[in-house]
């Protein structure tokens, strides 16, 4: 009898001591858009350095992929927060999804085009004429390039369009002159490979020519924002503090170490170059606060998608952008 009583008291003690600690932390899932690599350094750093735990949140940061769409997961209840590109957000709104954007991570879209310096630099959009340009049919880069052609008044016959995918061989073999890359990941790797072969490259950045197509942003469900504004605020402040710390050059060694734990693919030198490239896209100037939502760029993105018939009707994107102070 005494043994049973002892067991009961022990169980009660374990239970009572466990309850407050459970109540203190909130379990959340955060789905990224792509695999763990340097372009999500801030997300990795916020998790690794306990930024979420500090505000009482227990956040599981999950890597993404083409099949793991954060918007789907928000609706299905598998994630509470996620990262999605502007085109995904606008398409989802067009189809009735109830989501909101609470921060814009990339101030400059990493989707750019790489080309060799043996061809003249593209200083005006007219310089694209006569070139063989790679496009991922159905991808963001197709929408961006079509907008550029329309803006510059370039007819399809004045350029050669080649459909591209993961394999860079046509670019290495110089069959395609201008190749779409993510500036801070593939762009760094390609530039490095070509440098080793004695070749130098330029990057063609559409935003330099006034074409601003927004990239990755942090999203959540409208219900989450309405019912748990305190959790949204805590999550976002922890995440953005993590990003601010990760983009601070003083923390570079620490950030690279945290990224290396998750991303075994790239080598140390490449990771460092990728981090530098990411810094200039996330925080283009010291004064720029990470997470700032660029309303004109979002409006332009919506207009581009409308013109390209990727959405049927305007979604009034401004009403779904919530800049939390």
């Amino acid at each position: 009898m005494r043994k049973i009583m002892f067991m009961f008291l022990l169980f009660l003690w374990v239970f009572l001591s466990a309850v407050p600690s459970f109540a203190r932390t909130t379990q959340l899932n955060y789905r990224l858009k792509w695999l763990f690599n340097t372009s999500v350094a801030g997300d990795i750093y916020a998790d690794a350095k306990g930024f979420f735990n500090d505000v009482g949140l227990n956040v599981t940061v999950k890597e993404g992929s083409p099949e793991k769409n954060a918007i789907n997961e928000l609706e299905l209840g598998h994630a509470d927060f996620g990262v999605a590109s502007a085109d995904q957000v606008i398409r989802a709104l067009d189809k009735g999804a109830k989501i909101v954007v609470i921060a814009q991570l990339f101030q400059v879209n990493p989707m750019q085009w790489i080309y060799r310096t043996d061809k003249p630099e593209i200083k005006t959009l007219q310089d694209l004429k006569g070139r063989n340009i790679g496009i991922t049919f159905g991808g963001n880069d197709e929408t961006i390039m079509n907008t550029i052609f329309a803006k510059a008044g370039i007819a399809r016959q004045e350029v050669t369009i080649t459909g591209v995918r993961f394999d860079f061989t046509p670019f290495f073999k110089k069959k395609v002159d201008v190749w779409p890359v993510y500036r801070n990941s593939q762009g760094v790797i390609l530039k490095d490979k070509l440098a080793k072969a004695g070749e130098d490259v330029y990057f063609f950045n559409p935003s330099d020519f006034g074409v601003n197509f927004v990239a990755n942003s942090v999203i959540t469900s409208a219900d989450m924002l309405k019912n748990n504004p305190d959790i949204v605020e805590k999550f976002l402040s922890a995440l953005l503090n993590g990003w601010e710390a990760a983009m601070d050059p003083a923390n570079e060694a620490d950030v690279l170490k945290a990224v290396k734990q998750k991303d075994k693919e790239a080598n140390d030198e490449i990771r460092q170059k990728q981090l530098n490239a990411t810094r200039s896209l996330i925080k283009p100037s010291a004064a720029m606060k990470i997470g700032t939502i660029d309303l004109p760029a979002w409006t332009q993105t919506e207009q581009m998608m409308l013109k390209e018939r990727q959405i049927k009707k305007p979604v009034n994107i401004g009403s779904c952008l919530i800049q939390i102070k």
Binding site: P66, L76, D87, D167
Partner: protein, 255 residues
Amino acid sequence: MLFRRIYQFLIVYSVAIAFLWMIKMGLSLSDYVIPGFSLVVETAGQVFKEYFFDVINTLSVAVLGQALSIVLAFTVGISGRKSSWIGSFIKVTAYNIQAYPIVALAPIIFILLGDGFIPRLMIASMICYFPLLLSVLGIMATPVENIEHFYIVTGRMRWQLEVKIRAFENLSKLTTVISGSATLAMAGTIVGEFIAANAGIGYSIRIALYQSDLAKILVALFMIGIIISIYQGILETLGEQMKSKWSISNGGEVL
């Protein structure tokens, strides 16, 4: 046979899509996650013609790939039917190569050969070749003792006769395997197009996936299903006709 295939597919497709719509209603999901009936119908109206020609394009590659794999499987299967060293080498090689997933090999093929017609044909053939080869090897390596014994003891057995006896005695199995491999050839071609190609329904599905457009994917799946059902039905009907013809010409009953 043909109509049975088609209505069987329609039943399976309808059940699957009804299940999706039940989930959509149960969880109040938007059209972005699971498209509603009107969106699927509207999308079908927009892409039906384009997807129809895409599926026909894919099917033409799949049919050629299947034909190629049948020729290859019979050539290798007949050569490897003996329990000699070379026969067992061919069998072991076939089993080992089958162990490699085609999705891992496909990118290498596309890097080496580009993204034209030949790589799609190769991938389609590779996917349906190995199951065919294993069946052909199994059939050709198994003697039909009660018939072959007579030709062996009378000294009239030749390799051509041996192959004919074994093929005829297993005709039902062979036609089933060949019609079944049509699905594999189609799946192989779609996988190839999905990974890296610039034409076909697999390529269109990849573009729809980029745009998270499940309505387009559902329409594409419908088109693939209905056309592969027709193709399989035709193959099975041809198989039945062949079996009847062979049996009657040999003085036997319809199998």
